[in-house]
């Protein structure tokens, strides 16, 4: 099936070449980091996790959100998602691989990474996160492989795959729950130590994931003959709307508890994020940007008129995605370290090394998803390439005629 990803039109080759270039640049920066050490990042003794771990956390959410197309289709027999489930699963595969890579590039001794398997430690949440993410990857590889194979042969997928698909639904919830537990179980970091962290992670994931899927479907539809119709896009929009509302509700819950109880240790982190602490205001404009985007998006999504207009919906989806990316991919991890347990605020901003390595990892994810989607669309004869050739042939004929 992979051969279908090897042939394409100029635009496809161009996009793949661009991604390979981004991956190459990231790899060069990674080699530098590997030989020098993580000192090339903006991290320090007091802010010891940053951009990499934040991207990991954000992408676990994107991976988990595949469940938002799988669940309606397989549990509620919602046929309109039929064409999208495989895209959701492929997005999940790409995201989980990016998650693993973001952990890998954050390790001080990456070649010892296998120690996590050689010395399994059930009292560490990282052990369980490895099992959750690894299992989720295997499930999705298996499910997409079997269902796509059946589609290629034009037969129904084998019956035994159904229970595996059902298992993948709670498993998707588990990956983001366990990822939240990595943080919320730490007594040392009051910012993360909140029971609402896992639900918040899930709500924001189920808003940003479907928003991303909508944007991707719209882009693919523009460049190919793939068209799932209006209905699934609208359904995804409604899912994103509900999830975004729940996400904002949970953020308000958190804010009430912190602000009303007024415990300085909890309050300081929010001060750092939204007002600045000890003169450090690095994340303040970003966090307010995230809030404004969230409000803007929720207004557009809640109003049926704007939601049903696909160009406005696209804008709303970008706003949801960026808003949640800022919240999780920029603010969430760093704010846990600001202030430090000793009350200090240390400047942190990702360096170019972190930026290019992260771009490289995102490039690998985009490359994988591109190849998977190309295979799927070629199989379904929806790439639009033949169409174009036909058109050209017809044109040539008319001209010749």
């Amino acid at each position: 099936m992979i051969e279908k990803a090897l042939v394409g039109d100029k635009r496809y080759y161009g996009w793949v070449a661009f991604l390979l270039a981004v991956i190459g640049v990231g790899f060069i920066f990674y080699l530098r980091q590997l030989f020098y050490g993580l000192g090339l990042t903006g991290l320090s003794r007091d802010v010891s996790w940053g951009f990499y771990i934040a991207q990991f956390t954000f992408l676990v959410g994107v991976a988990a959100s595949a469940v938002m197309v799988v669940l309606p289709y397989y549990l509620h027999n919602y046929k309109a998602f039929g064409k999208l489930t495989i895209l959701g699963e492929f997005l999940a595969i790409g995201s989980v691989i990016m998650c693993v890579l973001f952990i890998f590039v954050d390790l001080g001794q990456p070649f010892r990474g296998a120690n996590i398997i050689l010395h399994p430690t059930p009292h560490s949440l990282m052990f369980w996160d490895m099992i959750a993410l690894g299992g989720y990857l295997l499930l999705n590889v298996l499910i997409s492989r079997i269902t796509l194979d059946a589609e290629r042969k034009g037969i129904a997928p084998p019956k035994w795959i159904k229970p595996i698909i059902i298992i993948s639904i709670p498993w998707a919830i588990s990956i983001h729950t366990v990822t939240a537990f990595l943080y919320s179980g730490l007594a040392a970091r009051s910012f993360w130590m909140t029971a609402v962290l896992a639900p918040r992670f899930l709500a924001s994931a189920f808003a940003s994931g479907p928003a991303l899927l909508i944007i991707m479907v719209m882009l693919i539809r523009k460049f190919t003959r793939f068209d799932p119709g209006k209905e699934p896009i609208q359904k995804l929009a409604i899912i994103a709307t509900y999830a975004m509302c729940i996400n904002i509700f949970l953020i308000l819950m958190e804010l009430f508890t912190v602000l009303y109880s007024n415990i300085p240790e909890h309050l300081h982190h929010f001060q750092y994020l939204f007002l600045g602490l000890e003169g450090n205001t690095t994340l303040v404009p970003w966090m307010w940007g995230s809030i404004i985007l969230a409000i803007f998006a929720i207004v557009l999504l809640l109003n049926p008129k704007t939601r049903r207009n696909e160009s406005i919906l696209a804008v709303a989806c970008v706003a949801v995605f960026v808003s949640i990316w800022i919240d999780k991919g920029l603010g969430m991890v760093v704010a846990g370290f600001q202030p430090s347990p000793l009350g200090k605020v240390t400047q942190y901003w990702p360096t170019w090394t972190e930026f290019f390595i992260s771009m490289g990892v995102y490039g690998i994810g985009a490359f994988l998803v591109t190849v998977f989607y190309k295979m799927t669309l070629s199989l379904r004869g929806e790439t639009g390439e033949n169409e174009k050739k036909k058109e050209i042939a017809e044109e040539v004929e008319t001209v010749a005629g």
Binding site: R45, G108, T121, G336, P341, L342
Partner: protein, 257 residues
């Protein structure tokens, strides 16, 4: 496997120490008979702890003897860039070391008073709980150890430590070691390190380097399970506090203020 290796190393260490001890002393095995010679059998405790008398510390402001002794004994690098900083023991102000134990009208000068801080060798260490490779573990005598050959550098322990006691090697530390101590290993980049209560000195029958370096006897080390120990006597006679006791980590470093 891993416990075997560790046990092997411990036994090997003790054997080596004893052999060297025997060589120094000659054939006499009864160490106590030879006066004047330092005791060579390992110090054995059930729950090692430290009591820090910050009053004595305050009398000699600007003194860094314990810090220097520790950092040179353990080949701790000295970086110019604070971003790369590695430290095992250092001075904090009272208000930062004990964030929930201060008030507006607290005894004059107390808030700015220096407190020596280090790994607390918690009885219930959160770093050990989170480490995914058991690179950090608690010994039976209470010392929280680090295996710098197994550490993968994920820094989960740093996130879990409520005292900021752990450091990471952001770059190769070796060029930044002022005076190399060949008795103690250096580290590679990408691993976490911290105070080990001088486990290597205890094995040789010595007290921790910081304790020995302090002329004021502001740092006292001993076995908390031994009612006759100096640490127990100090805790009996003085009111001592611990850092962030509400978190339930049970630090084994006590402060007389």
């Amino acid at each position: 496997m891993e416990i075997d290796r560790r046990k092997f190393l411990t036994i090997a260490g003790i054997t080596a120490a004893t052999t060297i001890g025997k060589k120094v002393i000659g054939d006499t095995t009864d160490v106590e008979q030879i006066a004047g010679l330092p005791q060579k059998s390992p110090l054995v405790g059930h729950r090692w702890a430290m009591v820090i008398d910050t009053r004595k510390c305050r009398e000699k402001s600007g003194c860094t003897k314990c810090i220097d002794a520790c950092h040179s004994a353990h080949n701790v690098p000295q970086f110019d860039n604070p971003k790369d900083e590695v430290k095992w023991i250092w001075k904090e102000h009272y208000k930062e070391a004990f964030p929930n134990q201060e008030h507006e009208h607290v005894k004059e000068g107390l808030l700015e008073m220096p407190a020596i801080v280090m790994c607390n060798h918690c009885d219930n260490p959160p770093c050990v709980r989170v480490c995914p490779t058991q690179s950090t573990w608690k010994r039976d005598d209470g010392i929280v150890m680090m295996d710098m050959h197994r550490c993968i550098g994920c820094r989960y322990c740093i996130a879990a430590c409520p005292y900021g006691s752990r450091s990471f090697n952001w770059r190769d530390p070796r060029p930044f070691i002022k005076n190399l101590n060949k008795e103690y290993p250096t580290r590679t980049r990408g691993v976490v390190e911290k105070c080990n209560f001088c486990a290597e000195r205890l094995a040789k029958g010595l007290h921790p380097a910081c304790v020995d370096a302090c002329e004021e006897k502001a740092l006292v080390f001993g076995d908390l399970e031994d009612p006759e120990s100096e640490v127990r006597a100090l805790l009996r006679e003085n009111y001592a506090i611990r850092r962030k006791p509400a978190l339930g980590t049970n630090p084994e470093v006590y402060y007389i203020v």
